[in-house]
Amino acid sequence: MRNVAVVGAGVSPFGRLDALLYQEIGRPAVNDAIENAGIDRKLIESCYYGSCGGVGVGHEIMNECGMIGIPITRVVNACSAGSNAFRLAYMDIASGMSDCVMAMGIEKMKDVTMAVVGGGTRFQIEAKAFAHGSPMSGGGGGGGGGMAAGFALMGRAHMKIYGTKVEDFANITVKSRRNGSKNSKAEFQNLMTLDEVLDDVMINDPLTRSQCCPRTDGAAAVVLMSEDFVKKHHIDTPIWVKGSAMGSNFGGANERAWFKETGSAYPPGFLTDYLVAQKVYKMAKVGPKDFYDRGFVECHDCFSVSEYVHYEDFGFCKKGEGSAMINDGVVEIDGDLPINPSGGLLSVGHPLGATGTRQVAEIFWQMTKDKEVAKRQVPDKHLDLGLQHTLGSPGIGFTNVMHVFSRDL
């Protein structure tokens, strides 16, 4: 396989952008990425884009940006769509097929439905058995708040098994808002106190509203290049992809497999997170400790509970010890292991298809000390390694994608 680098990134402002056309949201991200890379757009040979709502919108955007006739592939894989598009772009170059590829993601959330599979899945059959509406559907019957329900159930299990407090989860939002206040692209740039997070509207106990990511619109794009092209076009700050891994699993309690792998009876976490982390660490020849020594993380904090269990499932601490990570400031920008310096999904927002490429953009900008992240710059000693992660639930199971980046080849 060939070496592949990220050489430029662009992100649109994130927020409620209903009044805008897809082209109006996506074009600035694509053009900014090309300008950030400092290349001629004619070099781009193909494009992969994540979008769960808009059919063909990436094709339209690439056309509007003057890249006509190249292969363009839409990736629909729920919250992992953008990461999955990035992975395909990486594979396109690593395989030798292309030398310069764009990975993009865009979403207008009003066009997205999570009811992506046609009524016959185990998940959907079971959902019908909840009296007064399914807590997972998010609509009708007053059942629940959508995806929040599953993470609330996970949080409750964690509290029972490990004595985790509601404050521990809520503190993740406090940290997220602090970082988001330094991100001019974030949907939420306001600070919140612990009491404000805890006193917010209850969605599904223990998750209050501000512990759930918002339904945000936005776009993000990155340019990838082969090692040959990096040299040929004199790219001075390439950020190398050192590992790419992906996995899938049924949602809910895969109890037996979880027990076998981790020794824990009920999964207050994600088995796929654990397994995919092992895969990506192996490919990149790193371990969790390396990120303490010289790295940082952009991970899928769709809910406070999800960021919390990622700490444990990625091996940054033992199962049940995630509280110290947040309460002792370990994961702050100036902490021992900065996690989600951008503000993450909780504050930046979560346009499904755009999130993965938005995370890669953050890692690229942090590692190249771009002016875009000046207010939230991760300290120098942590800029050698970047870990990117999304967790998607395309209707029934989970799709996880992870990447490791390095400044050194």
Partner: protein, 128 residues
């Protein structure tokens, strides 16, 4: 002769809820529990099954409260229950709604029973 469509259908059109119990299939090859029942096992692709009856006894795996869209909405509580088979040898996870008034009545490990209801999975607390 069966039509092509018929030969592709693998759902078992049998009622799974019988009063406060659920009838499901257990794979004779690998022990996998199939709910809802199908004609094949999704773990080993086997087609040889034994019928096993689960419930009404179970215990709470985890729980949460519903989102009240309007202040006047009734507060509901839902979660996952580990439902035990008649002979106590097997268990399976089942989602449903708890027949309680407050989240304080719920605890992980709390004994519950499935209520007879054709449409919904409703669990009541078993007080010892």
């Amino acid at each position: 002769m069966r039509s092509i469509q018929e030969s592709l259908i693998t759902r078992l059109k049998v009622p799974t809820k019988i009063g406060n119990k659920i009838k499901v299939k257990k794979c004779n090859n690998c022990g996998n529990i199939r709910n809802p029942p199908r004609t094949y096992c999704n773990r080993c692709q086997g087609t040889d099954f034994t019928e096993v009856t689960f419930g009404p006894k179970g215990e709470i795996i985890t729980y949460s409260s519903s989102y009240k869209r309007k202040a006047t909405d009734k507060q509901r509580f839902f979660g996952q229950v580990r439902l035990f088979s008649d002979n106590g040898k097997d268990s399976m996870g089942l989602g449903g709604t708890f027949d309680v008034e407050s989240i304080d009545e719920l605890d992980i490990g709390q004994k519950v029973e499935l209520v007879a209801d054709d449409r919904y999975n409703i669990f009541k607390i078993v007080r010892e």
